[in-house]
Amino acid sequence: MDWTWFHRFGSPPHFYRIAGKLIPWFAWLAAISGVAGLIGGLFLAPPDYQQGEGYRIIYVHVPAAVLSTMAYAAMATAAGVGLIWRMNVAHAVAASCAGIGASFTFLALVTGSLWGRPMWGTYWQWDPRLTSELVMLFLYLGYMGLRGAIDDTARADRASAVLALVGVINLPIIHYSVDWWNSLHQGHTLLKFGKPSMPPSMLVPLLLLMLGFMLYFAAIVLVRARGEVLRRERNARWIAELLGAPT
């Protein structure tokens, strides 16, 4: 298999250029998908037979929760690639994922809490799903804190990458917590084979919003990563050429 494309991505000028081209595509597709999903979720989807209109929190809670775990997986993968192949760009991508992932984990916890109050009668319960999601928020904060505490970028990259990789153990715990333990949280709705748990009129807007959130994440990570690459490569010749400085 030809791995040239992979190594080309490790080249900062190549990554910077490709990311700049991809950002508008991801951003526009995210906006289209998000608006379509929002119209479907707020106006077209029927009320739930048990939860009435209150279930519409699903259209922001589930995409935020899915994004929070996806961002962690992306961060850990990039950190692992950076650690194994000593790829600076991969570390830049990993560092860019953390803040966004933390904000969406917080959002998933708060929207879940707001959904829990009328349905469960409580804002918070030390339930396996909620607790493991909270642990992920602490992992994100720990990753960012560790990076901030080490002045040397290369050392910060290595130490934070190890932490990110150790934290991967929490991802299957979050996913399977509703199966492994007695949980107040509902079981799998989307990743369930056989009879779907939602009719298409409810499911399609949810899938569109999830897609929109993921495309949004890709766009924002690339914006941040481009800035991070500029910061790391500030003395490189290609930056001077890019910014039109005399060489």
């Binding site: 009320p47 009435g52 209109e53 209150g54 519409r56 929190i57 922001v60 809670h61 935020a64 803040g99 966004i100 904000s103 969406f104 917080f106 959002l107 708060v110 929207t111 707001l114 959904w115 109050r117 009328p118 949004y216 924002i220 914006v223 941040r224 481009r226 800035g227 991070e228 500029l230 910061r231 490569e233 500030r234 003395n235 010749r237 930056i239 001077a240 910014l243 400085a245 005399p246 060489t247």
Partner: protein
Amino acid sequence: MMHWLAMGGYWPYVWPSYLLTLLTLVLNVGFAQRSAQRARQEAQRRAHSPAAQQGRS
């Protein structure tokens, strides 16, 4: 319209969720753009500094 806004009585839970989501989306865009802009300005300042030009030549 009022009926829709009331969300069947669940509006105190539904609308804050949507508002917070909007805030998260907007703030992430703002932070990312500001961070990228600062990095570009810093790189531009360094690239045009006489010391950097001397180092490259």
